[in-house]
């Protein structure tokens, strides 16, 4: 009982982390794309919980809003509108099992060792003391993040948003290429 009380936070953290890994596995292993998408949603939610748990409340809430609320809905949109019956032939996927296993194993090993290394470096999850170094951090996590983003990292922040805008415009241009050329053809024809 004493152990439980003393290490409650850590136990909860590992429980959530394990849940996250399980759901992430589900994304790859489920055969029905909608089930995979649901599993991905569960992964996003548990990751958001982990963020909140590690004193990154702002990040957790944004994770919920942007990934779980926005991006997943679009995923589901695409999956539902596309006919999925034909995609379920797994023969092509399974024939590459051996090389896939090797690559996956190497990646997993790299990830685990990186995780251990980071764990040793940071020694402990979440570092509320680091927030204290930011101006106005006494107010809370959200204020600390915005203070850093709009003062110290203003230019990188703006550059990232411009890059995102470029990517978005690029996607629209690629996506509408056919329609533009069709319009052009009609004009030529008439």
């Amino acid at each position: 009982m004493d152990f439980l009380v003393a290490h409650f936070a850590e136990l909860l953290f590992y429980f959530l982390a394990g849940l996250t890994v399980l759901f992430a596995l589900g994304v790859v292993l489920f055969k029905n794309p909608v089930h995979s998408a649901l599993s991905l949603l569960a992964t996003f939610v548990t990751v958001a919980m982990l963020f909140i748990f590690s004193h990154a409340e702002f990040l957790g809430a944004v994770q919920l809003m942007v990934y779980a609320g926005g991006i997943m809905v679009l995923f589901l949109f695409v999956i539902m509108l596309a006919r999925t019956e034909g995609i379920q032939s797994e023969a092509a996927f399974l024939s590459n099992m051996a090389p896939a296993a090797v690559v996956g194993g190497v990646l997993l090993g790299a990830l685990i060792s990186a995780g251990i290394l980071l764990g040793v470096l940071a020694s402990g999850h979440g570092n509320p003391a680091a927030l204290e170094m930011v101006d106005g951090a006494r107010l809370g996590n959200t204020e600390a993040v915005s203070m850093l983003l709009y003062t110290k990292y203003l230019i990188p922040f703006e550059v990232v948003s411009v890059i995102l805008l470029v990517a978005m415009i690029g996607a629209i241009v690629f996506g509408r290429k056919d329609r533009f050329s069709e319009v052009g053809k009609e004009e030529v024809d008439s």
């Binding site: 809430a61 994770q63 779980a68 679009l74 589901l76 539902m80 959200t142």
Partner: protein, 349 residues
């Protein structure tokens, strides 16, 4: 009993039970109020057979839904079909955890807060949780294996994503005025400013309220379940208690939107016109009115507005809905954020 168990386990548990009971009771009687008010607006009597003036109608309805046969359509995706009502009901109830209903009061020397949690990201959390609720509708529509349901689900997904954005910006302007994300903090800021945020933020309130009605799929934005075109939209294939969960979640969401409007724009549990009528509210009779009463009165007004809209407005066409959301509300809400910023600078500087 150790103090920790009492503070961390027992009191929150009691609060949760009370909260759930009250919310579900209000939801049940909201359906009665809706039928009755709509009936009077249309010169009918409304439910009047079960109990005096039909007061027991919601209970009869609940019993009926409980004992009804639970149908699952043949081609349905069974697991997702069963999951969807839960996916919409859980977020709807979860949101009540952070809504402050009144000021802290004392019971036997112990201060009790009439809310479960005062977290410092309450508003972001609410926006995040409410965006999870969309999945119940989309998945319920998709898994039913019916074209009406699928159309309803897709419409609702498009609608809820579109209206979440201007709603978020409307909320941002409140945050700028209050300077905090905590709902309790927002009410306190209104107490200190001696003004309800609806006065400086009238535009933000308008945007918020329109988007709130759209987010809950109510008239005039009830396209996901447009009876004339889609039978009953995303819940066409649902019956019995699973249908009831969709129904209850819709009303619970209406309550959340109304409660948030009360907290963010109308001073939460503060009495009306705290600046002009301060002397009146300090008088011995009126000072006894607990904050929860004011909160309930304000929230009740907004819930009445929901029903009023349903009795008044025709439904939007889908392209009109999208045009209003993206071409009007979004630019307006962005402009409003800038306007509030300038006003804040002018006021404080």
């Amino acid at each position: 009993m150790p103090e920790a168990v009492l503070n961390l386990l027992l009191i929150p548990l009691i609060k949760i039970v009370v909260l759930l009971g009250v919310v579900l009771l209000i939801v049940a009687y909201l359906t009665y109020a809706e039928r009755k008010i709509l009936a009077y607006m249309q010169v009918r009597l409304g439910p009047n057979r079960v109990g005096p003036k039909g007061w027991l109608q919601p209970i009869a309805d609940g019993l009926k839904l409980f004992v009804k046969e639970d149908l699952i359509p043949g081609g349905a995706e069974r697991f997702v079909f069963l999951l969807a009502p839960g996916l919409i009901m859980v977020p709807a109830l979860l949101m009540f955890a952070v809504i402050p209903f009144g000021e802290p009061f004392k019971v036997g020397g112990r201060t009790i807060t009439p809310y479960l949690a005062d977290v410092n990201i309450a508003i972001l959390l609410l926006l995040g949780i409410s965006s999870i609720g969309v999945f119940g509708i989309i998945l319920g529509g998709w898994s039913s294996n019916s074209k009406f349901s699928l159309m309803g689900g897709l419409r609702s997904a498009a609608q809820m994503i579109s209206y979440e954005i201007p709603m978020g910006f409307a909320v941002v302007s409140v945050l700028m005025m209050a300077g905090t994300l905590s709902l309790v903090g927002i009410v306190e800021a209104q107490r200190q400013a001696h003004i309800w945020f609806v006065l400086p933020g009238i535009l933000a309130f308008g945007i918020y309220w329109i988007c709130g009605v759209a987010e809950t799929n109510r008239n005039p934005f009830d396209l996901p379940e447009a009876e004339a075109e889609l039978v009953a939209g995303f819940h066409t294939e649902y019956s019995g208690m699973k249908f009831a969960l969709f129904f209850l979640a819709e009303y619970a969401n209406m309550m959340v939107i109304s409660a948030l409007a009360t907290v963010m724009f109308f001073g939460g549990w503060l009495p009306p016109f705290p600046n002009l009528l301060a002397g009146l509210w300090a008088s011995p009779v009126l000072a006894w009115i607990p904050g929860v009463v004011w909160f309930a009165a304000k929230m009740g007004f907004f819930l009445f507005c929901y029903i009023w809209f349903r009795g008044t407005f025709p439904r939007y066409r889908f392209d009109q809905l999208m045009a209003v959301g993206w071409k009007w509300l979004l630019p307006l809400s962005l402009a409003n954020v800038m306007l509030v910023g300038v006003l804040m600078l002018w006021w404080k500087g």
